[in-house]
């Protein structure tokens, strides 16, 4: 039994990051439909989480000297976790995380190319803090539920992406295939829907899409930046022919164009790829795995439905997600706990449910790396390997050991929260299950937890007993296999 209706809990685990005690109050009397509207129509509520960093009643951040989330990647990681925990717009952060995996770009390569400060700016700079374009994650937050074709265009000109996929050296005489390949293989249509010669043609399309360094700042000034530039003289002006239609009249050939008009090639290709029927289907399958289930293969009816919504709304994502969350597949109770949480989802949900009083988010950094998911450091352009692959003995130990760190830090708060419900071990277990909302436990594990509560002697509910056994029980629950499912 949960404190919220199970359908609302399900919605909040999938389209948000779970519910804190305050969230439980917010959503207690709302219908599923109004919760969906609350999540999707977030523009009316302020994007103000950052302004609350440092407040004592929120999770804490820890840093070497000045907290610098726009120029220091570890601080940027803490800021993003803080946002996920405390945002009034959880679906926006959830989608930003989705896009971060979809357009997976890793800090380490950027730092090797441009230095730590510039690399952090390229990934995480909030608009207007320093000179230069906003960071890639801010782009994903801006377009969280925006137009996918426009997002693709922005990604193609995004400095982080250009460094990441070597666009800086994609020249007329030596086209560079990295972005040209991945824009088809990973960002749009997927393997099997393009040819090797399409890869080469796409590389030529993006010749000249490059970066320009700011000249008004010394290179070690944090205000120095790189921004997108179209180097017309480096653009291959010849026509490019693809194996799939580029234009609505069925033409597969991007015409030869003058240098100065050459940037239109990329706009045409991206538009064609965004509208390609396989792109809608591929996104639908990814949304299935992200929102509906990882243990049921995507239902063909769902895929066609969602791909149709995507096309009919000219690649707008908000109506697509609305359709996903209201679909019969989403509300099917068989889909509850049918997903393996990502490590970041696990950390954020556990902090929201266990508590954050005095807890520094920097303490999640090394554990997240050991769980296999350091933010801003996906393993490669394909993103993290999801689903059952999150779980190996080493990564699971990292999760359970994070549970130990977190519950040890929340000893007082946890004990207080269940004080009134601790007369018997069974009452205490029931209260903790309501608070932490894991997937249902079978009899065996329930018995193991009850035995743990009385292992030190018979149950008295004394303060000393609660101080030991409540965090221990929370550690068992958060570290349980059942808790890893969402």
């Amino acid at each position: 039994m949960s404190q919220l209706d199970p359908s609302i809990d399900h919605l909040l685990r999938r389209a948000a990051f779970g519910a804190s005690p305050a969230d439980v109050e917010t959503f207690r009397n709302m219908s599923a439909g109004s919760v969906i509207s609350y999540l999707v129509d977030y523009e009316g509520r302020p994007d103000d989480a950052d302004a609350r960093i440092g407040r004592p009643d929120h999770a804490q951040v820890a840093t070497k000297d000045l907290f610098s989330p726009d120029t220091d990647i570890d601080d940027a990681r803490q800021r993003w976790l803080f946002r996920m925990i405390h945002t009034r717009r959880p679906l926006q952060e959830k989608m930003a995380l989705f896009w971060h995996n979809h357009f997976a770009t890793a800090y380490s390569k950027l730092a090797g190319d441009s230095g730590a400060v510039q690399a952090t700016k390229m990934l995480a700079q909030k608009p207007g803090v320093l000179r230069g374009p906003q960071g890639q994650i801010e782009l994903f937050r801006q377009y969280a539920l925006g137009n996918y074709r426009n997002l693709l265009l922005q990604v193609a000109r995004d400095p982080a992406m250009i460094v990441w996929l070597d666009g800086k050296t994609n020249t007329r005489t030596k086209p560079q295939e990295n972005f040209g390949r991945e824009v088809m293989e990973l960002f749009t249509v997927g393997v099997g829907n393009y040819t090797e010669s399409d890869v080469y043609a796409a590389a030529r399309v993006f010749t000249g899409w490059n970066l320009r360094r700011s000249t008004e700042y010394r290179s070690d000034d944090p205000n120095a930046y790189q921004e997108f530039v179209f180097n017309a003289e480096e653009h291959d002006t010849q026509e490019k022919t693809f194996s799939f239609p580029i234009y609505s009249n069925g033409s597969r050939t991007i015409p030869a164009r003058s240098e100065s008009e050459g940037m239109q090639d990329g706009v045409d290709l991206i538009t064609a790829l965004a509208l390609h029927p396989e792109t809608g289907r591929r996104l639908a399958r990814k949304f299935w795995n992200f929102f509906i289930s990882e243990i049921h293969t995507p239902d063909p009816g769902f895929v066609e439905n969602i791909a149709t919504v995507y096309r009919q709304n000219s690649t707008e994502i908000a109506p697509v997600i609305q359709a996903v969350l209201t679909s019969p597949w989403f509300t099917n109770t068989a889909m509850r706990y049918a997903r393996y949480s990502w490590p970041v989802e696990f950390v954020v949900r556990s902090v929201k449910e266990v508590g954050w009083q005095g807890f520094s988010l920097d303490r999640a950094r090394a554990p997240l790396a050991n769980m296999g998911m350091l933010l801003y450091e996906p393993p490669n352009v394909g993103g993290w390997v999801l689903g059952a692959n999150w779980f190996s003995t080493g990564t699971l130990l990292a999760r359970t050991n994070f549970a130990a760190t977190l519950t040890a830090s929340q000893r007082a708060g946890l004990t207080d929260a269940v004080l009134d419900q601790s007369r018997t071990p069974q009452a205490l277990l029931t209260a903790m299950l309501e608070k932490l909302t894991p997937a249902p436990f079978d009899q065996g594990p329930q018995q193991a937890m009850l035995s743990y509560l009385v292992a030190g002697g018979s149950w008295t509910g004394s303060e000393a007993q609660l101080n030991t056994r409540v965090p221990g029980l929370a550690r068992l629950l958060v570290g349980s296999s059942e808790y890893q499912l969402v």
Binding site: N170, K174, Y452
Partner: protein, 417 residues
């Protein structure tokens, strides 16, 4: 979704009632299964290694004309003689350690390994090298299928993965492989101390023993939780090992050091998985020095330390290492002074029982030569990678490669043992 992975849970659950006695019981199994105690260390170079700058045809004029800024000068390569076609070859100058092993006759360089119509996608190509089937990118991995042939009940440490995620090559229907990316955090932490912490660990182990009928995905996580708890103590033994040589700093050296510890302490693992990435050198890869030089330095120094260490321990004859990548790279450098995704590459096999030398022939890089493909853009494969797998399975691990590889690839296999 690799549903088949979950099947192994059934098998594991049978031993659960042993509770805390399980580790010693399983050690006995490990001991019984480890005679003879041969192990195979599989090293994966993630990203597609530029084989032409690993094993360099330094007398081929096309090598220099097609790689104007990234070719290693002939005077700097570490010469290893000429292949059967008479082409002179040399190792990258940062591979001094590997040249030592080569000179001892214990490093086999198998040239132009691959398969027809090589995939240029990292993900597809990695899947193909994992399944050992160019037509299938899903399904179990070749090492997983080997592990499935071992007698049951199987020891939880019959294979040891030093990477955080389970690589596709190790996925199997029956055998779960623990991942131990960081041995120092491979421990059980509790918010409490003393008896409360111990009781908590007992409870966690009991909870993970739940077979979760009707919920195979939960059973899968449970089995992983249980394997973690059961392997804690033996992993701690292996990581307490003091090596006989200094290993280079960095993840690769640390992983090899841990593997050496497990081998020396007789943990009984038959297969070890080690991976190192950064080989997707599209830009600024450098020649002797630079990014690629650093990759070679880390690879060569790490393997040399490992080989020296196990040899000092008298275990070189029980250890074989193979090194592979998902593809080689384009012959001509690109506009970014790097190389794009290519086709065939070099595999390396080293160990005390390995018949060293140059196996197979190198490509001529002159445009139009039949050793090339893709309009002479790429190196064409000569040796099917599955022939190398077959030799390792048959002649090193004592298995039958035919059912594991779903075919007989023994013909054309290089004589590496």
């Amino acid at each position: 979704m690799r549903v088949s992975r979950r099947i192994f849970i059934r098998d594991g659950v049978a031993t659960v009632t042993l509770g805390l006695a399980a580790p010693s019981f399983l050690s006995a199994i490990a001991h019984a299964q480890s005679i003879p105690s041969r192990s195979l260390v599989v090293v994966y170079l993630g990203g597609g290694n530029d084989s032409l700058n690993t094993l360099i045809p330094y007398q081929d004029p096309s090598y220099y004309s097609r790689r104007p800024t990234i070719a290693v000068p002939a005077g700097e390569v570490l010469q290893v003689g000429a292949d059967a076609a008479g082409r002179a070859l040399g190792l990258h100058p940062r591979l001094g350690g590997l040249r030592n092993i080569f000179n001892e006759g214990r490093l086999a360089l198998v040239q132009r390994t691959g398969y027809p119509n090589s995939s240029r996608s990292h993900f597809e190509a990695t899947d193909i090298w994992s399944t050992a089937n160019p037509q299938a990118t899903t399904g179990s991995g070749w090492l997983g299928r080997y592990l499935d042939t071992l007698p049951r009940p199987i020891d939880a440490l019959s294979a040891w993965n030093t990477a955080g995620e389970t690589p596709h090559s190790l996925l199997s229907g029956l055998t779960g492989v623990p991942a131990i990316p960081n041995a120092s955090t491979y421990t059980y932490a509790s918010p409490n101390r003393g008896s409360a912490a111990a009781e908590e660990r007992v409870a966690a182990q009991m909870m993970s023993a739940n077979a979760a009928p009707g919920r195979p995905h939960l059973a899968f996580v449970n089995s992983t939780n249980r394997a973690a708890i059961e392997t804690l103590d033996r992993v701690a033994q292996a990581t307490a090992y003091t090596p006989t040589v200094a290993y280079p700093n960095g993840g690769f050296g640390l992983a090899l050091r841990t593997v050496a510890g497990a081998i020396v302490r007789g943990i009984g693992s038959k297969v070890f998985w080690v991976q190192t990435s950064g080989f997707d050198t599209h830009a600024q890869q450098g020649a002797s020095a630079g990014a690629y030089g650093n990759l070679m330095g880390a690879l060569g120094d790490g393997l040399w330390a490992f080989y020296s260490d196990v040899r000092n321990q008298g275990l070189a004859n029980d250890t074989t290492v193979i090194v592979f990548s998902e593809f080689g790279r384009r012959i001509s450098e690109n506009g970014s002074r790097g190389t794009d995704h290519g086709a065939a590459g070099v595999m390396m096999v080293l160990g005390g029982m390995v018949r060293g030398g140059l196996h197979g022939t190198s490509a001529s890089l002159a445009p139009g030569h039949p050793t090339l493909e893709n309009n002479s853009g790429d190196v064409r494969y000569e040796t099917d990678f599955r022939a190398v797998y077959a030799t390792l399975l048959d002649r090193w691990l004592g298995a039958n490669s035919v059912p594991i590889l779903n075919g007989d690839f023994r013909a054309g296999a290089p004589a590496i043992f």
